[in-house]
């Protein structure tokens, strides 16, 4: 036996029908009405496409949203670790310094990062000190010798000497030539 539903009743049930939330019997009644009523059919289609597009928009929005959040978070972390690094180098403005300090106090993970940075600093400096002590070469004599040679060849004093010597030789040569010529 079939109960004939009115258009108003079917309209009210359509969204439950789409979501498959009706009892089998009620579902059958709705379907029976839809078969004979183009108006309700059209309403069903409109409702379906509306829900579909709403879902799509929602999904897009949530993708954009979660992406943006993730990005903002990583940016923030990145900025923070850069500032933490500048903080241990004492290269922050007073305002930034205070911000980092507050963050470190309230954030155990940041404290851990800070400790690691200090530790790295320390082992690098130890390693460098060792490298300094291990270097045994003495370059001082070599450098001084080379600078000395440089001065002798190109120094203004030596240049004057060379010119004077050249003039003397030339004069002596000329005089000798003149004497030889006359004799």
């Amino acid at each position: 036996m079939t109960v004939n539903l009115t258009c108003t009743q079917v309209s009210a049930l359509l969204s439950f029908y789409i979501d498959d939330k009706l009892s089998n019997q009620l579902k059958q009644f709705v379907e029976a009405h839809l078969e004979i009523c183009p108006t309700c059919n059209a309403k069903l289609e409109a409702l379906r496409s509306m829900i579909k597009s709403l879902r799509e928009v929602h999904e897009k929005l949530s993708v954009v949203k979660s992406g943006a959040e993730e990005y903002a978070q990583s940016e923030q972390n990145n900025d923070f670790s850069i500032n933490l690094s500048a903080y241990i180098d004492n290269e922050l403005s007073d305002e930034e310094n205070l911000k980092v300090k507050k963050y470190i106090i309230s954030n155990p993970k940041a404290r851990q990062d800070l400790e690691k940075m200090y530790k790295l600093k320390k082992i690098m400096q130890n390693s460098f000190d060792k490298a300094k002590n291990n270097s045994k070469g003495d370059y001082s004599k070599f450098i001084l010798r080379r600078i000395d040679m440089h001065e002798e060849i190109y120094g203004p004093d030596s240049f004057a000497k060379v010119v004077a010597l050249f003039i003397i030789i030339l004069t002596v040569f000329t005089i000798t030539a003149v004497i030889i010529f006359w004799v």
């Binding site: 850069i82 933490l84 690094s85 790295l120 460098f128 270097s135 370059y139």
Partner: protein
């Protein structure tokens, strides 16, 4: 004046005397700086055989250029400018040879990769520390060139960000980020020791 006298002179005065062609002052100045420069190049240069030559060249430039240094107070950053210029010269030379070196911020992947210490057998402390030294050097040398020079000028030479920016021809902001990223990489590479 005795050698002992020169050994006790503060750096700034030593620079002033050297500028006035006091050779014994210059000799002492070279002796004071050479270990530092040698050690610095041992982290900067990827080629061990170049370290001595680079050190010698840096000291030579220092000795020759000292007369032109106006403010002896800036000696340290001036000397590091010489070291930095030599570092970039070396990179350019390597660049000209067929082997490709990255000048960009991102590193080339090293084929030999990272050595992960064997934690099962704890070696003697001494061996441990020399192993650590090798690791540190290795990690620093594997940093991208710009990161390497920045972190070395900071941690090993104690320059300010501004001085580093000037020496490497960049902005303070870039120096800040390069140093932070260098630290991040080193922490990652040396995570078993930190």
């Amino acid at each position: 004046m005795s050698k002992m006298f020169y050994k006790k002179i503060p750096l700034e005065e030593l620079v002033l005397l050297s500028q006035k062609s006091d050779y014994r002052a210059l000799e002492e100045l070279i002796k004071r700086e050479q270990k530092n420069i040698f050690a610095t190049f041992s982290y900067l240069s990827k080629k061990r055989e170049n370290i001595a030559d680079l050190t010698q060249e840096a000291l030579m430039r220092m000795a020759k250029g000292l007369a032109a240094l106006r403010n002896p107070k800036t000696f340290k950053s001036w000397l590091n400018q010489i070291v930095t210029n030599l570092f970039y010269d070396e990179l350019r030379k390597i660049n000209r040879s067929p082997q490709v070196i990255s000048i960009d911020e991102e590193p080339h992947e090293e084929s030999f990769g990272r050595q992960i210490p064997d934690t099962k057998h704890k070696p003697a402390e001494r061996a441990m520390s020399s192993e650590l030294d090798k690791m540190i050097k290795n990690e620093i040398q594997n940093l991208p060139d710009h990161f390497r020079i920045a972190i070395i000028l900071r941690e090993l030479q104690g320059l300010s960000y501004e001085e580093i920016a000037e020496a490497t021809h960049t902005t303070v902001g870039t120096v800040k980020s390069r140093i932070a990223r260098a630290r991040g990489r080193l922490q990652d590479g040396l995570r078993h020791y930190i």
